[in-house]
Each structure stands twice: as structure tokens, then as C-alpha cells.
């Protein structure tokens, strides 16, 4: 009688174990079926990643957003790209960060307008358990998960080295920089100035900080050249500075007397490269930033280890001579 009861309980236990195994297998198959894509994940269940940039009009940021979109499509992520109307408005960025937190973002890909001004909002996101991936411009926070950006100091040096190469004589340098709170601009300026200073061929460096608009850069350049007409080398540290400076030189007719080393590219600055207002462009890899930013966010959401907490994207120096090389074409002219 006892052994019989024992047998029955053994049967029950074995049956239960088998049932559990079958259950797991069914679950696995269902998941497999779901993940093979025959049944698509509904939009609502896809992880939401907020990408917050500094602008949505500049060529640079359009390229970032298309890179982010490519990664979002590849990893099946619900991605939004937002940027304030003005490249100065870090408060608007902070509002976007908080909106992303309350909208249940699983990760935030962020580019800081203000190194310190955005820190608090980023801190809030991290405290809410949302991993933050920084692209392009850093923020004053040690706990962000990953930084994907150009090595801006090296980018600055790259421009400086080409300036030295093109001008064997004495350099009188003007720097048209944007927001003094932007880490990127400061690092580029630092790199550029360090490279120039190390040569010992520099007479003076004059810096003007403008608001990040074409008009402001134009006026800043005009003012700088009015005050220091002896300037023969000009560094314009972002896309809009490049345009403003370029227009100023064009209007002043100084194409042949002054060399501008500019950052980033758009069709106008590329045209200026051809017409001679701009001597060289340091072109970043915004598409890669956007793509890697969202890819890293996806990895963070899935708990995959990131290859590195700091990823430097490439920079390329584009001048009149190489601008129509096929690989440079592919880099600076967007494929519509």
C-alpha cells in the first residue's frame, strides 16, 4: 500500500516536471516565432529611445538623425529625434529630457548644449534608472553609460596642423567660437591653439565667441577682422560659424588673403571650399554618431555589455584637392 502511494506520487511529480518542460518549450517556440518576425512586435511594446540633439536643421544633425533612424529600424526601436529650435536653448533640452523620462524612455541618447546646464536633468534621468548615451557633446556627469563623439581636441589639432602646413610663415590667428559653455567648442579651440602654439610661428591668437547662428558668426568675424586686420588664419569651430565667417570673407573679398579652417560641412560650406573662402573643412562622422548612439542604447536596454564607454568617431580633413574624391563625396554629400 505504501509503495503504491509512493509510486503514484512519483508519477505525479514526473508528470508535473514533464508538463513544466513542455510549457517552457511552448513558451520558447512562441518566443522564437515572435522573434523570427512572422508576428511583428507591436509598436507599443518596442522600447522607446529618445534622441535629443542640438539642432534639427543643420546638415550635421540631419545626418545624425538619419544614422539614428537606421539603427532604430535595424533594432526595432521606437525612436524619436528632437532638438531645440535654437542651438543655445539648453533649457528646452532639459524639458525634453524630463519629457522623455515621463514618457517612459528606456534610454536617452543626448548631446549637451551646455556642459553644466544640462547636468541636472541628465542626473534626474540616470536616477530614474534610464541609461544615457552621450553623442557629440559631453555633459558634466560621470554616470552616463557611454560617450560617442569626435575627439574634439584632436579635431582641433587636425585643423591647426593643416593651417601650419598651408602657411609656412607667421600666423595671426582668429578663432570664431560659439557658446563658451559648449565643451566641444572649447576642446576644438584648445586643440587648434595648442597645435598652432607648439609651432612657435604664431604671432597672436584672437578669439571671438558668438551665439550659434550664422548672423552672429558673420558679425563676430566682421568685428574680429575690423579689430585685427592682420589676421591671416581663421578657425570657425562649427557649421554655423563656418558659414558666418565664410560669408564675411566673401563680402570682404578676402578669399585670397585669409584662410579659414572650418568644422563640419553643408552644401554652402562645400561651395565655399571650391570658391576659396574656406581653406579646409574638418568633417566629423555624424551618421556614425547617430547610429552608434542608438545601437549602444539598444545594447544597454538588452543588458549587452558595451565594447567601450568611450567611442571616438572619425574625423576627416577635406580640402579643395580631395573634395571630389569618391569617398569624400560619399561623406560630405548626403544621399537623398
Amino acid at each position: 500500500m505504501r509503495s503504491k502511494r509512493k509510486n503514484i506520487s512519483k508519477t505525479v511529480i514526473l508528470s508535473a516536471v514533464l508538463l513544466v518542460v513542455i510549457g517552457f518549450a511552448v513558451f520558447y517556440v512562441m518566443r522564437q516565432a515572435l522573434s523570427t518576425g512572422t508576428i511583428f512586435t507591436p509598436r507599443e511594446t518596442r522600447p522607446y529611445v529618445a534622441v535629443i540633439g542640438k539642432s534639427d536643421v543643420s546638415a550635421f544633425w540631419i545626418s545624425v538623425s538619419s544614422g539614428a533612424r537606421a539603427a532604430a529600424a535595424e533594432y526595432n526601436i521606437d525612436m524619436t529625434f528632437e532638438a531645440p529650435g535654437s542651438e543655445e536653448d539648453y533649457e528646452a533640452q532639459n524639458a525634453m529630457i524630463r519629457a522623455a523620462i515621463s514618457n517612459g524612455a528606456k534610454a536617452i541618447v543626448f548631446s549637451a548644449i551646455d556642459y553644466n546646464g544640462n547636468a541636472e536633468a541628465i542626473r534626474e534621468a540616470i536616477d530614474a534608472g534610464i541609461p544615457v548615451v552621450i553623442i557629440d557633446s559631453d555633459v558634466n556627469c560621470d554616470d552616463v553609460s557611454c560617450r560617442i563623439m569626435t575627439d574634439n581636441y584632436e579635431a582641433g589639432r587636425l585643423a591647426g596642423e593643416h593651417a601650419l602646413e598651408n602657411n609656412p610663415g607667421t600666423l595671426v590667428v582668429g578663432v570664431v567660437n560659439y557658446d563658451v559653455n559648449s565643451a566641444n567648442g572649447q576642446q576644438r579651440e584648445q586643440g587648434f591653439c595648442d597645435a598652432i602654439n607648439e609651432s612657435g610661428r604664431v604671432e597672436a591668437i584672437y578669439t571671438v565667441n558668438c551665439v550659434s547662428t550664422e548672423e552672429s558668426a558673420y558679425e563676430g568675424t566682421m568685428q574680429l577682422l575690423a579689430e585685427h586686420p592682420e589676421i591671416n588664419t581663421l578657425a570657425a569651430l562649427n557649421e554655423l560659424m563656418s558659414l558666418g565667417s565664410g560669408y564675411a570673407i566673401r563680402d570682404l573679398g578676402l578669399q585670397d588673403d585669409l584662410e579659414i579652417y572650418a568644422f563640419d560641412s553643408n552644401v554652402i560650406s562645400v561651395g565655399m571650399l571650391e570658391t576659396g573662402e574656406i581653406e579646409g573643412l574638418v568633417v566629423q562622422n555624424p551618421y556614425a554618431m547617430g547610429y552608434l548612439g542608438v545601437e549602444s542604447a539598444n545594447n544597454l536596454i538588452n543588458g549587452t555589455k558595451l565594447p567601450s564607454a568611450n567611442i571616438n568617431t572619425t574625423t576627416t580633413y577635406v580640402a579643395y584637392d580631395n573634395m571630389y574624391n569618391i569617398d569624400i563625396q560619399r561623406m560630405i554629400f548626403r544621399f537623398e
Binding site: V29, Y287, Y291, Y324, F333
Partner: protein
């Protein structure tokens, strides 16, 4: 039997479970192998066919598009031959109508630009012109790789340039170049999907990528296309689970490469099939397990129970009590049959036992009925001798004693009589013998009154007294026989004690062996046997004897009363 059962300790249900599982497992594995071979093959073929069809379609579409553009070019050339003056208008019309034509430029024999016609503003200063390529072979057509248009102000669309030599047929131009937006082709290529993640891209004859849906990633250094496919001829190639279908477009030097992942299309399904099969297998294991235990409960266990019952029955048939076994109808009928068998055998055994008893009792009765002729003759001789001597009173006493002795001996055929009657019987016998042996011995009774009411076998004491007289007292004078009857717990003990010569161990043994001693009627053995038959082995005769001191023969019987004398 027991050993055999233990050695073959595999139960039927586990054998059944194992059989079912192994059959299903074999079937599933064979099915999987067949599935894997045939299905995989057919899936591979389907994937390859899909890839080939898609690539053919893409190649066809691009062929048509380029053909169309060439047609435009040809009609432009023909128009220039027919009516050189209207060509400018014709070009204007083309640019106006065909939104994908970005620019049409003409070049003289030295390659100098003789005119750029476009809807967009042409740069004031054209430093370089990417749309100009070397003059194609006479009146031939060439198609450039995609490039940006470098002559338009702030507009750098990606185009392919179609060049045609015109031999100065219009405006002294030797070549016409038409820049056609590449985004039409690119958009089309982007939209092509093969399988779930398959795509196709355009490659030139040297393996350089003309257009790739993921070219931004490739240019940004984030992705790479397999370099091994560069040198491959047209057709389908399988490399590392990826199907590459390559087709060269006839009217240009481009190749369409279709990329499909075998893993996704086939492996997923095969894996799903394997998982489903494993599921089925598990389910079968579960079901066969359940059915096995059910089978065991309904069949194996009842059969085992029945086997155990049979083994027990084998061991002790008479005391066995059969409990019917429940199970399937086969087992139940088996159980019923066995039950009947058990009952029948037990009945038969009882019958045999009863018959045996009856037989023995009959034999005993026959023996009892025998009157020892010597005893009767001697007694009658003594009586006649008494009569002769005129001892009438004594003769009367003798005759009375003899008569009483016989009456009690017969007791109307009853085997069991009261101890009181048995004592009378013994007394009669002693009286007769005392007369015959002329008071050579005397005797005494020591009876507990209580014991008289119990019953005993008749003629129990007489053979013992006879034994005492013949073997104990024969040679000596003043012999004394003492008969003592007492109660001992639930038993009654009757002792016949003499003070004679006693018996050796051998003599005692002999007493229990021979049925009838010296033809003197009923012997000690007979008494002992009868007690044991009636009351069981617990009871019977024991003899204590000491040579030259005396012998005590004890009879132990249960206390039999009027009420229970027939039960025994």
C-alpha cells in the same frame, strides 16, 4: 519461483512506456532527418529561386531604366541629325518633362564644355566637372558610376552620367552628357527585399559598390560587405549560409548582387520543427507514462497481487483467505476463477480430513467393540468357579461388575462419556481383576468432585489400569493402584499410579508404538491416539516411571462439558 519473479523485475508498464517512447523517438528522429534533408533542400531551393527571381527582376528594371535613358539619348542624337536647330528646344523639353534629368551638357572635341542646361542654377565658376568623362567610342554610349554634380550652385545631387558621342552633329558638340538622378535607382534598390533580411546592391565589374542600401553604414565604417564575392561569375553562390545571386546587367557594366540569409529562412523553420518534434516526444513520454501507470494500476499490480495470493495459497492452503483482486475484466475473471478454485480446494481438503477422521473413529469404535476374549473367558471362568464353591454373593457381584463394564463400554455407541461413568467403568474392571487375582493388589480413587461432570473418551482408564496390573504389579504382592483425577487449569488430568517394577525408557517407547499389546484389547497407544484425534496434539498421555519404584501414567484432556462435547 520467488527468485524468478525478482530477477525479471522489469514491470510491464515500464516496458510498455519504453517501447512507446522508443518507437515515437525513432519515428520523430527519422521524420526529422527526412524533413531536414528534403525540407532543407527544398527550402534552400526556394530561397535560391526567390533570390534569383528578385535579382532578375531588379536587373530587368534597371536594364529598362537605363535602356529608357539611352533611348532618350538616342532620340536626342537622332533629333540633332534631323534638325540641328531644334535640338536646344528638345533639350529644354527633356529637362522640363523628366524630373530625373538634372542636367544635359555638351562638350566639344577637346572636352571643353559648350553648354550646360539645367533647371538649377549653374555655378558662376566651374572649377571641376565630375559629369565629364572621356569621349566614348564613336556614337557609343557610356554610363558613369554614381557621382555628385559639381557644377550646380549649392546643389550636389547624386547622378549617373550617360555620355554619347555625337560627332559634331549639333552646335559643334562631339559629346552629349545627360546627368540622371540616381535616387530613382537607389530608391528602387532600397525597396527590394529578399526573404526577411535579404537585400540587393549594385556592384561594378571591379567589385566596387555602386549602390548599397546600407552604404551610409558601409561608408561610415560601421558595416562591411563580403569582399569574397568580387570575382564571382554570374549565378548563385552559397557562402557561409548566405546566398549571393549575381547578375550582370547587359547594357551597362553593373552587376546586381542579391544577398539572402539561409539561416533565417531555413534554419528557423528547421529549428522550429525540431522544437515541435521534441515537444511531441515529451508529450508522448508524458502520455505513455500516464498510460503506463494506468496500465500498471489496472493490470500489472492486480496480476502481481494475484501471483502473491497464489504463492501464499501454495504455502498454506487451509488457512488461506482469498480477497478478490480488482482490475480490468480479464484480471477480475482470473481472480474470480482463482477464488472459486481456492474455495473448492479448501472444501475438498476439509472433506478429505473429515473422511479421514470418520474412518479412524470408525476403526476405533470397531476396536472398542472388540471384547478381549481372554478377559471374558477368564472372568467367566472365575464366576463359574465361584458358583461351584458356593460363593454366590461374590459371583453376583462379579456378574454385576461385568455387566456394568460392558454397558459402559458400549455406552450406546457414544465415544464421549462423563468422567464419572469412566470411573465406574474403571472400578468395575478393578473389582473383576481383584477377584481374579485374589486380592493380590488393592486400589484407591482420589477424585476431585468437580471433575466428575466433565467428559472424556470412554475406555481411557481401563487400558492404563490393565497395563499397571500386567506390567507393574504382576510379580509382587501388595501392589497398589492409585487413580487420581484432578483439575489443572482448563484441563483435567487423570493419573494411574502403581508401585510396581516400573518401566525402562525403551518399554515406555514401545507402549506408544504398538497398537495392540499382547492381543489384550485396547492399548495405551490407542488411548493416546484417540485423545489426540478428539482434542488435538496438546493433549494425550505422558508416562513417568522409575524402575522398582513405580509408574505414573498421566492423561491430560481438556475440560469438556455437556455443552461443548460435540464441538470437538
Amino acid at each position: 519461483m520467488k527468485k524468478a519473479a525478482k530477477v525479471s523485475g522489469i514491470s510491464l508498464s515500464s516496458v510498455m512506456t519504453a517501447a512507446v517512447v522508443s518507437i515515437v523517438a525513432t519515428a520523430v528522429i527519422i521524420a526529422l532527418l527526412i524533413f531536414n534533408t528534403f525540407f532543407r533542400e527544398s527550402m534552400d531551393n526556394i530561397a535560391i529561386t526567390n533570390s534569383e527571381q528578385s535579382v532578375d527582376q531588379v536587373a530587368g528594371t534597371i536594364y529598362n531604366y537605363i535602356d529608357d535613358m539611352k533611348g532618350v539619348m538616342d532620340s536626342l542624337y537622332e533629333a540633332s541629325l534631323r534638325d540641328p536647330d531644334s535640338v536646344e528646344e528638345f533639350i529644354e523639353d527633356i529637362i522640363a518633362i523628366r524630373s530625373d534629368v538634372v542636367m544635359i551638357a555638351t562638350y566639344d572635341i577637346h572636352g571643353n564644355n559648350t553648354g550646360v542646361r539645367s533647371n538649377y542654377k549653374v555655378k558662376d565658376l566651374i572649377t571641376r566637372n565630375l559629369s565629364y568623362t572621356t569621349v566614348p567610342t564613336e556614337s557609343g554610349i557610356s554610363i558613369s558610376i554614381p557621382h555628385v554634380v559639381s557644377v550646380l550652385e549649392n546643389y550636389y545631387p547624386w547622378v549617373v552620367t550617360i555620355n554619347k558621342g555625337v560627332n559634331g552633329s549639333f552646335s559643334n558638340a562631339s559629346m552629349i552628357a545627360m546627368d540622371v538622378e540616381f535616387s530613382n535607382i537607389a530608391g528602387y534598390i532600397d525597396g527590394v527585399g529578399i526573404g526577411q533580411h535579404g537585400y540587393c546592391f549594385i556592384m561594378d565589374g571591379d567589385g566596387n559598390i555602386i549602390y548599397h542600401p546600407q552604404q551610409q553604414l558601409i561608408y561610415a565604417g560601421l558595416k562591411q560587405e563580403n569582399d569574397d564575392i568580387n570575382g564571382l561569375p554570374d549565378g548563385t553562390h552559397l557562402q557561409g549560409g548566405i546566398i549571393y545571386t549575381i547578375k550582370t546587367i547587359d547594357n551597362c557594366e553593373w552587376k546586381i548582387v542579391g544577398v539572402t540569409y539561409l539561416d533565417e529562412t531555413v534554419n528557423n523553420r528547421v529549428n522550429t520543427m525540431i522544437i515541435i518534434s521534441v515537444l511531441i516526444l515529451l508529450l508522448v513520454v508524458l502520455l505513455s507514462f500516464i498510460s503506463g501507470s494506468l496500465f500498471s494500476r489496472l493490470f500489472t499490480k492486480p496480476v502481481n497481487k494475484l501471483t502473491d495470493a497464489m504463492r501464499t495459497f501454495e504455502g498454506s492452503a487451509s488457512k488461506f483467505v482469498f480477497e478478490p483482486v480488482e482490475g480490468v475484466s480479464e484480471v477480475e475473471s482470473l481472480s474470480d476463477s482463482f477464488g472459486h478454485l481456492v474455495t473448492r480446494i479448501q472444501e475438498l481438503m476439509e472433506e478429505v480430513k473429515a473422511e479421514e477422521n470418520t474412518l479412524r473413529k470408525t476403526e476405533l469404535k470397531a476396536l472398542q467393540a472388540q471384547i478381549n476374549p481372554h478377559f471374558l473367558y477368564n472372568t467367566l471362568d472365575s464366576i463359574s468357579w465361584m458358583c461351584e464353591e458356593g460363593k454366590n454373593d461374590e459371583a453376583v457381584l462379579m456378574v454385576n461388575a461385568l455387566a456394568k463394564l460392558f454397558r459402559i463400554s458400549i455406552s450406546r455407541g457414544h465415544e464421549i462419556i462423563t468422567i464419572d461413568k469412566e470411573i465406574q467403568h474403571a472400578e468395575c474392571y478393578l473389582q473383576i481383576q481383584k477377584f481374579r487375582y485374589q486380592n493380590q493388589f488393592d486400589y484407591s480413587f482420589e477424585i476431585e468432585e468437580e471433575c466428575k461432570e466433565y467428559f472424556c473418551n470412554k475406555i481411557t482408564l481401563q487400558p492404563l489400569i490393565e497395563n499397571a496390573i500386567y506390567h507393574g504389579l504382576n510379580m509382587i504382592d501388595e501392589g497398589h493402584i492409585k487413580i487420581r483425577i484432578r483439575s489443572d487449569g482448563d484441563d483435567v488430568v487423570m493419573d494411574v499410579e502403581d508401585n510396581g517394577v516400573g518401566m525402562s525408557e525403551d518399554q515406555i517407547k514401545e507402549l506408544f508404538l504398538s497398537d495392540i499389546t499382547d492381543k489384550r484389547g485396547i492399548g495405551v497407544k490407542n488411548v493416546n491416539d484417540r485423545i489426540k484425534i478428539y482434542f488435538g496434539d496438546k493433549y494425550g498421555i505422558t508416562i513417568r516411571s522409575e524402575l522398582d519404584v513405580g509408574t505414573c501414567v498421566s492423561v491430560r484432556i481438556p475440560k469438556i462439558t455437556e455443552e461443548n462435547k460435540y464441538e470437538k
